[in-house]
Amino acid sequence: MKIDRRKFFKSVGGATAVALMTSEQKADALEEFLEEELEEYTLQQGRQSGLYPTVAEIAEQNKDLARPRRRGGGRMFFPGRDGKLQALMPMPEKPTLLDFFKYRFGTATHVMQSAGRALKTGMDEKVVLACLLHDVINTLMSADHGWWGGQFIEPYVPAETAFAVRYHSALRFFPDSDYGYEYPESYLRTFGEDYVPEPYLQRTYKKVRNHKWYEYSRLVTVNDLYAFDRGKTVSIEPFIDIIGRHFKQPKEGLGWDDSPSSHMWRTFINPDRRL
């Protein structure tokens, strides 16, 4: 794929911003840019032809055992489009959430945009935090990422925040006009135009729809859908106070505090651990 250099620079905030990036941040940004370019290209193709794959066609693609990766794996385990694995910087001895944003979660543009939107529109800080954390697990695991992500943060965040993250991935399949949440066109391509959410997703939706914390999770989807604007530059800075107020940082460092999800943080720290 040919890279539009000017477009890429603009996407990350200009040449000055690029100059301030570490080489791995540049690699992350480039990978993210290329993914979006590819998505845009495929959407344009789909719009022109009016065709989307069917569930059966996607299942057929999944039978290809020669493909480089399975769809649900976290991107830190697979080469990027440049054919290389993501470089991993050493982590501090007692890493904090901000360290994970700095060294492991990639550029995290999408989640910061999402949280920024929640903040700007005056949403509850528990929702803002949920937006900030809702997809960080994708670096480790994409399949059913809401459940993985909820479990990942549960020991450290308000119960409403963990609930919001856990169920946002299921709610994304179900439009809700009361909140203006729509079914994403990209899902026609990702899951197939005739896709019907599996029974476990239907059950989850019914359960969450009637839960008193439904709105927390729904608001994550509302901000999730729109936060893919590569023209917007974002940083973790506006969220540091919110993290301080709501994220319980263990004194031993994330990964070393023997919580029910410490192993997930440790896998982030060292994904090359063989066993």
Binding site: L43, K120, E182, E185, L188, D229, G231
Partner: protein, 155 residues
């Protein structure tokens, strides 16, 4: 007797005035451009479709779109196209998510939001709402009771 006639007349006049007040459009509904917070706001057209862009306003490089899935014959999107022009007395806005009312007063919402409204001197935004097929649109809610009349565009 005279007292009764006066009372009836008073009730009749009162009812007439009240009916007249109720029949009036909202004070802020506009036929032409609406001027609000230093922005000139004009509806340009209404569109009905099953696939819509869902970017914020002003539009960024967001590529996300919403879709009414095949088989859902009951719903469609109404998209309101609006032109904005930034005037010299512009003041930053803090408007809620916009909404529309149908002719029966029911509210329909979008997750799209207003952003940096003075980023460009002039721009167009599209706000889309999932509505029942054929729903008659009444007005677009900008901020509180500030509305744009849509009836002329819904043909």
């Amino acid at each position: 007797m005279k007292k009764n006639v006066s009372r009836i007349a008073l009730i009749a006049i009162g009812s007439f005035v009240l009916a007249g007040l109720l029949a009036l459009p909202p004070a802020t509904a506009q036929d032409g451009p609406l001027i609000l917070s230093g922005l000139e706001i004009s509806v340009t057209r209404l569109e009905r479709s099953t696939i819509v862009p869902l970017g914020d306003c002003p539009r960024g490089e967001n590529i996300v779109r919403g879709v009414i899935r095949r088989g859902d014959e009951a719903n469609e999107f109404v998209t309101v196209h609006i032109d904005f022009k930034v005037l010299p007395d512009f003041r930053p806005v803090d408007w809620p998510r916009p909404a529309i009312h149908d002719v029966n007063g029911r509210t329909y919402r979008t997750a799209q939001v207003f952003g940096e409204m003075n980023r460009d001197p002039e721009f167009t935004c599209d706000f889309s709402f999932r509505v029942p097929v054929g729903m008659k649109v009444q007005e677009f809610l900008v901020d509180g009771d500030v509305t744009l009349d849509l009836t002329a565009y819904d043909r």
